[in-house]
Structure formats: C-alpha cells, structure tokens
Amino acid sequence: MSVAVKALEMTRQATEAIVKRAETRFEAHRQEIFRSTDRMFAGLLIAQWLGGIAFAFFFSPYAWAGKVKTVHAHVWIAIFLGGLITSLPVMLAWKRPGETMTRHVIAVAQMLWSALLIHLTGGRIETHFHVFGSLALLAFYRDWPVLITGMTTIAVDHFLRGVLWPESVYGIPNPEWWRFLEHAGWVIFCVSFLVMSCRKSMRDMQVMAERGAELEALSENHWRKSSVVDRAATDAGAR
C-alpha cells in the first residue's frame, strides 16, 4: 500500500471515529434529557394523584340520597381512575426510562390528568390552565412529537366530553357548539410555539456535538503535524 493510500485510509478511519463519537455524545445528551424528564413526570404524576384525592376529599367528600350519606363518586374516581392513569406511565418511567413509548404514554397520562382535574373541579375554567402548564412541561423532552400526542389526547377528550357530558368539561350543560374549537385553537397556538422551541433546542444540541467533533478533528491534525516534526527531529538527532 502506498504512503498516499495509507494516509487516506488513516484520515477516513479518524473521520469515522470522530463522527461516531459526536453522534454518541449527541445521543447520550438526548437520552439524559429524556430520562431526567421521565423521572420528573413520574414524581409529578404521583403528586397529581395524591393531590386529586385530597382535592376530592376536601371539596366533595360525600353524596346524599335522602338521609343516607355515601362517599362521593369523585373520591372513588380520584382514587381509582387517577390510579389507573398514573400507574402505567410511572411503571414505564421506572422500568423503561428514555424509550419513545414511555414519553408518549406519559404525555397521554399527563393530559388525562388535566381532563380528570377539570372534571373534579366541575369544569372550572381556571383548571383548564393545567392543560397549558402540562404542555409546557412536556416540552422539557425537546421531542416535538410528544407535544402532538398530548395535544391530540386533550382535543379528543374535550370533543367527546363536550358532546357527551359538557358539564364535566365546561361546567355548563349547554355550551356553544364551537366551544371545543375555541379551546383547541388556543392549544394549537401554544403547541406551535413549543414545537418550534423544541426543534431549535434539538438543533442547538446537534451543533454543540458537531462543534466538539470539529475541535477533535483539529487536534488530530495538530497531532499528525507534531508527530511528523518529532519524527524528523529524532531522525536528525540519530544522524
């Protein structure tokens, strides 16, 4: 093999190694973000569950049928439906952190928690802010498809409950037919900016990883030059 071909092969191998390391760094950074956000949501989902139960106990602990006092359905809904919504994503965050499915399940669960809290508070408009807070928290993943999952979940929930049980979602029995569209419009407004932010953030992470690769490549070039100089000096000394 000629010296030129050998040099070309060395450059190719070094290039591959540096690019591979950059890809690994980028992926490791992404995974760290996914895993830490999974952990954050696991804690948040449990806190929401406990908070939902406490809220139901505090505001609607009992139902009355004549003189018979029973535990209000809201309490059971908070305990059992809340537990059902919380259990799968928390289990996935614990057992399969960083996986794509985990964060999409978490997105669905988080938006279902918004829906449940809206129901438990009798469709209070203030509780709808939980939807926007949840979308902002989902943006911590910097993975925009997760936001689409969350947005779709809450849109389907509002549409179905708006048709079947409007009091549960809007607090009134006969809202305007377009109320669902108004809510959906604000969610789309919010999500479109969060998607842009996620994409930019991911691009910045990639640029950082590539900048590291360029600096490594420069080091490699310096090392090669210095090796040649060192060899020449050694050869000259030997003569």
């Binding site: 190719r12 590539e210 490699e220």
Partner: protein, 67 residues
C-alpha cells in the same frame, strides 16, 4: 465586523476555501460550510486542507474554530 455562527456566538471565520478537483478551489461562506455533512467537514480539518478567512485575511484554523 462581528460574525454570528450557528450557536449564536460571535467571532471565528466568515469564509472557507476548500480544495476542489484538479487543483481548483471553492470558496464557501460560513453558513455554507456549516451546512456540509459533518463527515466532510471533519475530513477537511483532519487533513488541514481547509483555509479559513476573516474579513478577507487568512486565519489559523484553531482561531477560526474559537468563534
């Protein structure tokens, strides 16, 4: 003249000259260079064949990569 790179920081280079086929050269803006595949950029930097310029003056690759 302040040059803004993809990271939003300033400094570094504004043009790059890369070797082309048959001893020719091609000049790229910083944005064009940064749009090249990483593999290609890394290979130029390892070989030391990319020449960096700032305000028309050639600069050391190490200085070019600082900004």
């Amino acid at each position: 003249m302040e040059i803004m790179n993809a990271m939003g920081t300033t400094g570094g280079y504004d043009r790059v000259r890369l070797p082309g086929p048959n001893g020719t050269a091609r000049d790229l803006s910083r944005r064009q260079f940064e749009a090249l595949p990483l593999r290609e950029r890394v290979s130029y930097l390892i070989e030391g064949t990319a020449q960096f310029f700032r305000g028309g003056q050639p600069i050391n690759p190490s200085d070019a990569m600082k900004g």
